[in-house]
């Protein structure tokens, strides 16, 4: 049973650039949530996708956008990168259609903005 996978594992960008992170949910799951985890802090909710639509969004600017594909995989895009965007970006999947609220996390993508 494949768990949540994310790519790439690490990424280095410079300020002003754009980045795309990818996530494949756990087998059978239909919902993907994205979180940002700064060093030494708990993950912060960015947004959640279900049926290719954004269901809910956290307190993040419009520079953060996402997409969900028909196969339930998802992308997180961040434009005009700032130094403060350096963090571990986590993807979590769940099975909304079965009203299962438990979210399972991938290993994350560590983004460093220079």
């Amino acid at each position: 049973d494949a768990g949540v996978t994310q790519s790439p594992t690490h990424l280095i960008k410079t300020r002003g650039q754009q980045v795309t992170l990818r996530c494949s949910p756990k087998s059978g799951h239909d919902t993907v949530s994205w979180y940002q985890q700064a060093l030494g802090q708990g993950p912060q909710f960015i947004f959640q996708y279900y049926e290719e639509e954004e269901r809910q969004r956290g307190n993040f600017p419009d520079r953060f956008s996402g997409h969900q594909f028909p196969n339930y995989s998802s992308e997180l895009n961040v434009n005009a990168l700032l130094l403060g965007d350096s963090a571990l970006y986590l993807c979590a999947s769940s099975f909304l259609r079965l009203a299962e609220e438990t979210q399972y996390f991938g290993p994350g993508t560590r983004l460093l903005v220079l």
């Binding site: 708990g42 912060q44 609220e101 438990t102 996390f105």
Partner: protein
């Protein structure tokens, strides 16, 4: 906004002892809570969950206690092992999102 916080940022225990990690939550309407373990360089790993209609739930070597009166959660780890060393988060399920606290670092001394 609502938040979930932890009392102790770092907990050091001797191998073989029991560990207790505490968590306070502020949203009295919350009805589902999850404990996660995060090892260095990895994503959070599900440990155990509990719904508000329960006050205790047991897993393998772990027990979660929920006290709704004082809005407090705890995670008990029996016979703590070196592999238990990690950061532990409690998370409150708020609609579609998880609300995490800052985490507690558990260090196991051999």
């Amino acid at each position: 906004g609502e938040s979930v916080g932890l009392h102790l940022p770092t907990l050091s225990v001797q191998e073989g002892d029991n560990s207790i990690i505490n968590c306070a939550y502020s949203n009295s309407a919350s009805d589902y809570f999850i404990w996660y373990k995060q090892e260095s360089g990895k994503g959070p790993q599900f440990i155990i969950d509990i719904r508000s209609n329960m006050d205790k739930r047991q897993g393998q070597r772990v027990t979660v206690l929920l006290n709704k009166t004082v809005k407090h959660l705890s995670l008990q780890i029996a016979a703590t092992q070196p592999g238990d060393s990690a950061v532990y988060f409690c998370a409150e399920v708020d609609g579609n999102k998880l609300v995490f606290g800052a985490g507690t670092i558990l260090r196991v001394k051999s």
